[in-house]
């Protein structure tokens, strides 16, 4: 409950558009109470900028409670900042010390073009989902829910994988800017459940093809993604996705089309 007032120096990446050159601008964040969230600290800085007639720093946010996956800033080289298993909006200023110097950068990845300042375009994730991240069930044609029991262990594991919020920190943190963790989590979620079986082989092939087409790198098992993930999505799912893909490639007779971005 004890709060302190701290002053910080922020070096913030400013970039007016995807193809414009970017640069760091330095701002002072004064009299920040340690009870503030990181984004509230930026709100205060921004209100000051507006009062002075300058353009505020653009960053993505919505729920501010760690579930929508909108927010995401690389703070001193760490995606989402210094607190493990915590999205940027949930990081609080008590993580920092008076006089700290912070470098704020956007997610950097070719698959995530910069929109403006700290905001990036993550539509690649949507396209990976569109490629096959679903169960094709027509509205209204579903069988009675308890007809197909699902072992509790499987349901729990599926939930572990489904907890991904699609924030993209895994890509931001991966030295290869690989989207493996995100893709693997969805592949795992649906392939674990009986409802996901009919499309299992197709799904993994299509999603991986799209992941590759988006220009993300390959996974070389650095494990940075798992460490940065605010929801603790496990690396095990990447192994599982690899296995699923090989299995699908070996077993399926029907080819799947390669995809363009």
């Amino acid at each position: 409950m004890s709060d302190r007032l701290i002053n910080l120096t922020l070096h913030v990446w400013r970039q007016t558009g995807p193809d414009e050159p970017g640069r760091f601008e330095t701002y002072q964040a004064k009299d920040i109470t340690t009870h503030m969230s990181f984004l509230e600290m930026l709100d205060v800085v921004n209100e000051g900028l507006i009062e002075r007639g300058e353009t505020p720093i653009v960053f993505d946010y919505d729920c501010r409670e760690g579930i929508c996956g909108s927010c995401g800033i690389v703070v001193n080289g760490e995606a989402h900042g210094p607190q493990r298993r915590t999205s940027t909006c949930q990081v609080h200023m008590r993580q920092f010390q008076d006089g700290d110097e912070l470098w704020l950068e956007p997610w950097r990845a070719s698959g995530f073009p910069i929109v403006k300042d700290l905001m990036v375009d993550r539509s690649a994730f949507d396209r990976i989902m569109q490629a096959g991240g679903y169960v094709s069930i027509r509205t209204g044609s579903a069988p009675e829910a308890n007809e197909l029991p699902v072992a509790k262990e499987l349901a729990d594991k599926a939930m572990d994988a489904a907890a991904c919020i699609g924030c993209g920190a895994c890509v931001a943190a991966c030295p290869n800017a690989s989207a493996s963790l995100f893709t693997a989590a969805k592949v795992a979620h649906l392939s674990l459940l009986p409802q996901g079986q009919p499309e299992r082989a197709d799904r993994v092939r299509k999603m991986v093809a799209q992941m590759d087409a988006e220009g993300f790198g390959g996974c070389t098992n650095h494990g940075e993604c798992e460490a940065a993930c605010p929801k603790g999505i496990s690396l095990d799912w990447i192994a599982r996705m690899n296995r699923e893909l090989v299995r699908a490639m070996v077993k399926s007779e029907k080819p799947v089309q390669a995809r363009d971005r």
């Binding site: 070096h11 970017g22 760091f24 690389v74 001193n76 080289g77 760490e78 470098w103 950068e105 950097r108 990845a109 070719s110 698959g111 943190a173 030295p175 290869n176 800017a177 690989s178 092939r205 991986v208 093809a209 992941m211 590759d212 220009g215 993300f216 790198g217 390959g218 996974c219 070389t220 098992n221 650095h222 494990g223 940075e224 798992e226 460490a227 940065a228 690396l235 095990d236 990447i238 192994a239 599982r240 996705m241 690899n242 296995r243 699923e244 893909l245 090989v246 490639m249 080819p255 799947v256 089309q257 390669a258 363009d260």
Partner: protein, 214 residues
Amino acid sequence: MQRSLTLHDTTIGKKVIMALSGFVIVGFTIGHFLGNLNLYLGPEALNGYAKALHDLPALVWGTRLVLLFAFGAHIASAFSLWGRNRRARGSRYKKNKDLATDYAARTMYWTGPILLLYLVYHLLHFTILPAHPGDVYRNVVEGFQNPLIAGVYIAGNVALGFHIFHGIYSAFQTLGANHPRINSYRRDLAVGIAAVITLGNLSFPITVLTGIVS
């Protein structure tokens, strides 16, 4: 682009190829290391072992073919992924902080090519242009008595250690060998194999340099 997807088109497929070929090469290095232990049994043992092998041309050429294929596939995939992964980042971070990865993983694209150079040198040195054809023991011992040559071997095998430490751990993950029961052993196994091969291989130039073997 309307064509069907093949495994090696995908980043995962390329990694699977690297893992399989990597395992083949690791397997060879283990066997190779065990054979080289004959060095400690004296010239007759090592030369006899070499001769015994060379008397089985099918085995020698079979192994060479498999190895050539494995190296080819491994290196081709490595370079294709390398380019891709570099492009995927786009702009670099000003600040970078690693939380999980380690030195070995970060340097795979250094240790790999170092190994390639080492191998070229190694083949020229012992297989293609040996100083004393037929006398493997003398080639090895005289070679390693030269500190420069021994240094190349030490450097090469240190790179090997790092490369196969991350390589083995990584290959399990790539091949989807992932189960709560075995996961805790994956890293231990990688450390174990990498340590045995590397320390064993390093022992050859070191024992020669220090005069324990002459």
